[in-house]
């Protein structure tokens, strides 16, 4: 990403440090979805992801006066979100009732860790959406974390992703490609029994146009 964007972020941080509320709001608008996507990419449900997101912003707020590299605030947020997510995910795994794991073994664990179950995804209304989330949920945790963080709006920089995933910048591109191929393979195997019936959903195009207006609305607020 251009140096200009880094300067812009650094200026926002500097202004927020001086107590400029509009600068703080701009930082939230810029990075809220990234923090959320990181939490979701760690298989957290809505409630836990909300906790992680809130804690991460509180941490930034308390650290704001001490932030030494203002241009790296995105990477800082990503790292904090990842750490908090791993902590909550670990706690959740420990809370799996003992009997459940005894009876069903590790599968019970992975089923509970599986992200976006139908009811937690608010807008997933069509069969096609559900199938894509399901195929996504069958990816390895590291693939889920990477792909979900990449979907953040606005898209994160690779330096921020690298921090979010604890992964060298150079391996993000190749890993992304591998994960997408796996996602595609999962989709294929899910759709195999019923053939291509679910692809006849023509409502997709209409929805696509409506979502494009969302980012601008958010920027204004």
């Amino acid at each position: 990403m251009a140096e200009g964007a880094e300067n812009e972020v650094a200026e926002l941080v500097a202004a927020a440090q001086r107590g400029d509320d509009s600068a703080w709001r701009a930082l939230v608008a810029r990075y809220l979805d990234l923090v959320w996507a990181i939490a979701r990419g760690h298989s957290l449900d809505n409630c836990d992801a909300a906790d992680v997101t809130q804690t991460t912003w509180m941490r930034l707020h308390e650290q704001l006066p001490r932030l030494t590299e203002p241009s790296r605030v995105g990477a800082w947020l990503a790292t904090t979100a990842r750490r908090e997510s791993l902590k909550v995910a670990r706690e959740r795994r420990r809370q799996v009732p003992v009997l459940l794991t005894e009876r069903y073994g590790e599968r019970a664990l992975s089923a509970l860790a599986a992200p976006p179950a139908d009811e937690s995804i608010r807008g997933a209304d069509s069969e096609r959406d559900r199938m894509l989330w399901q195929a996504f949920g069958e990816l390895t945790p590291s693939c889920q974390a990477l792909l979900r963080a990449l979907t953040a709006d606005p898209p994160p920089r690779y330096s921020e992703l690298s921090a979010a995933l604890g992964m060298p910048i150079g391996s993000i591109g190749p890993t992304r490609a591998r994960c997408l191929d796996r996602l595609r393979a999962n989709l294929l195997s899910l759709s195999a029994p019923t053939g291509r019936s679910e692809t006849g959903d023509t409502g997709g195009k209409a929805r696509r146009t409506t979502t494009q207006t969302e980012p601008t609305e958010r920027e204004v607020s």
């Binding site: 909300a50 997101t53 809130q54 308390e62 006066p65 807008g123 996602l183 692809t199 023509t202």
Partner: protein, 179 residues
């Protein structure tokens, strides 16, 4: 198939012929359409700057980092299982002092804080709903009979020097923790 612009193809072509990048566009579109952060989460983050009084985030405060949390300690969790009431222990460390916190997770949940080394101090418990503030006893012990669940942080301003120390320690604020 070949006549379709790539942009459109993601939504209507059969899965069998989805390219890698078309798969990506479908996933990105789905995530952005159906899994945005909830409004209240956004509002809470936006409001942080308004709600939090400047005194809470004085630059002069040393930050006391969370160095021990019984919730993260497998050994402690094992022990808790056998007890009827559970207690969460937290330790925050600043360069000049420790804050040992014990929260009893009953009803009401109580909080006891010990300043180490023992010294009198003003302690503020910073909660989402506001601040509880009081002095510790002369041994640096502080007791709150009831704290609500949610995020909290402590701010400790020593009132005198600890025994054996020549200077009074500066104010300390802990990182935020959810209880």
């Amino acid at each position: 198939m070949t006549g379709l612009p790539e942009e459109q193809s993601a939504s209507i072509i059969p899965i069998e012929v989805l390219t890698r990048e078309a798969t990506w566009r479908r996933l990105a579109e789905l995530a952005r359409r159906t899994d945005r952060p909830p409004r209240e989460v956004e509002d809470a983050a936006l409001a942080l700057n308004e709600r939090v009084e400047p005194a809470w985030r004085s630059i002069d405060d040393e930050l006391a980092a969370l160095v021990y949390d019984s919730d993260q300690d497998p050994q402690a969790l094992e022990n808790v299982r056998s007890l009827s009431s559970s207690t969460r222990r937290l330790t925050f460390q600043a360069p000049e002092l420790l804050l040992e916190v014990e929260i009893t997770l009953g009803r009401p949940r109580t909080l006891v804080c010990q300043v180490v080394p023992p010294q009198p101090a003003v302690l503020e418990v910073r909660l989402e709903s506001g601040i509880l503030s009081s002095e510790t006893d002369s041994f640096g012990t502080f007791h709150v009979p009831s704290v609500p669940p949610g995020p909290f942080s402590l701010r400790c301003s020593p009132l005198g020097q600890a025994e054996g120390y020549s200077e009074r320690a500066g104010p300390v604020a802990t990182s935020w923790v959810r209880i």
